[in-house]
């Protein structure tokens, strides 16, 4: 038989262990960044599934079109009506609108490759460390640490991005999350954190 232990000594020990610890805002921010990265991986997996579907539908469409054409040819050969033209379904990726590109960005095409180098600029003369966090870095603040120009207080980083829509923000001194004020605000900002939209057009 085990009896519940509750005496003065134990209560005094427990009382000293109960105060909640000081929270490091940067550590808490890293939790949300890690969860946002997990969420982005989920989204990417979903996007990959969606991307596969049109290809599958396209293949089926081509096969159906071929079958219809074959049937039509047979019909013609059999002396029927003229074959109809069956258009196979096609998939197309809408081109990104360049109108949404933020003024702070200077895009430079890298040739025929899919990735383009994009320079992100942020101004905060008082910051000691600034990182770019976005879906393209997996929301990891260590992937795109910005470089400071001591004279102007400008921070810059160059990231390689594929064409498409990207959401990003700046993490200042590992604790302050700021969206790019010169870019459109993202309506689907992660975890209540503000984000900005970056549209990268095709080269």
């Amino acid at each position: 038989m085990v009896f519940e232990e509750q005496d003065e000594t134990i209560e005094r020990i427990a009382a000293r262990l109960r105060p909640l610890p000081e929270i490091d805002p940067a550590a808490r921010a890293r939790v949300l960044v890690a969860v946002a990265a997990e969420r982005e991986r989920d989204r990417e997996r979903s996007r990959q599934l969606v991307r596969r579907r049109p290809i599958l539908i396209g293949s089926i469409g081509v096969a159906l079109a071929a079958a219809m054409a074959f049937v039509a040819v047979l019909a013609t050969r059999d002396g029927g009506s003229a074959p109809r033209v069956a258009a196979a379904p096609t998939t197309s990726v809408p081109a990104a609108s360049p109108g949404g590109a933020p003024a702070a960005l200077a895009a430079r095409e890298t040739g025929a490759g899919a990735l383009q180098q994009i320079q992100l600029v942020f101004r905060d003369p008082n910051a000691t460390r600034v990182s770019v966090v976005g879906d393209f870095t997996g929301w990891d603040p260590t992937k795109a640490v910005m470089t400071r120009d001591s004279g102007s207080g400008l921070w810059t980083a160059t990231v390689s991005l594929p064409a498409g829509r990207h959401v990003y923000a700046f993490l200042v001194d590992d604790s302050i999350w700021v969206r790019d004020p010169r870019a459109p605000a993202a309506p689907d900002a992660d975890f209540g954190r503000p984000g900005s939209v970056l549209l990268v057009g095709r080269p």
């Binding site: 909640l20 939790v31 969420r39």
Partner: protein, 197 residues
């Protein structure tokens, strides 16, 4: 530039109805994909999780990492969480697992520590009396086997019922009561003679 929002973390030991109701709403919204609700859930439990991890691991960096891993796993597992189940035992089950994994890594690191290496904490001489007592308690706590330390913290620091502890640890009620009793016995022996405890 607005700083990151921080809300009070001091969750009550005996939670009241409004806290439970708020938590239920937050979990429901988080399960439905509301990311702000998940951030609120982190705010509600971050400090308690960190307290438990700090006492289990005695290293702030390891504790913060264990808590971070915990919330990532909670996020992944939230769709499979059944709302009729108690949330805190479910959360502490994940947290306990992360702390045990981190503790095993710490022990492997300690095994390869060369003679002459001195852990950082050992060099911090505590002249402050209260700090010294706290360190004595932490030292005694660290001397306990992991299962006893975990059971003691859940019972006497987190204020969990034995039923909730059974969910959190996977151990039976009798085993948990025995672990808590042995932990109390060991702590009492180590600390009764220490003035001020």
């Amino acid at each position: 530039m607005p700083p990151l929002r921080l809300v009070p973390h001091d969750a009550p030991r005996q939670e009241d109805g409004s806290f439970a109701e708020t938590r239920s709403l937050v979990i429901h919204a988080a399960r439905a994909g509301d990311v702000r609700a998940f951030a609120t859930l982190v705010d509600m439990y971050y400090a308690r999780c960190l307290r438990f991890a700090l006492h289990m691991l005695a290293d702030r960096s390891d504790a913060e990492e264990a808590v971070q891993d915990t919330f990532v796993r909670v996020y992944r597992a939230l769709p499979s969480y059944r709302e009729q189940d108690s949330f805190e035992p479910w959360l502490f089950r994940i947290l306990g697992n992360r702390c045990r994994t981190a503790g095993a890594k710490q022990r492997r690191h300690a095994d390869v520590m060369e003679y002459g290496d001195v852990p950082e904490r050992a060099t911090a001489a505590g002249h402050d009396r209260e700090l010294a007592w706290r360190e004595e308690i932490e030292r005694a706590l660290r001397s306990l086997p992991v299962e006893q330390r975990e059971a003691f913290l859940m019972r006497h620091v987190e204020g969990m019922s034995y039923e909730d502890m059974a969910v959190a640890t996977g151990a039976g009620l009798s085993a948990l009561k025995m672990r808590v009793k042995r932990a109390c016995d060991a702590l009492r022996v180590q600390l009764t003679e220490v003035d001020g405890v």
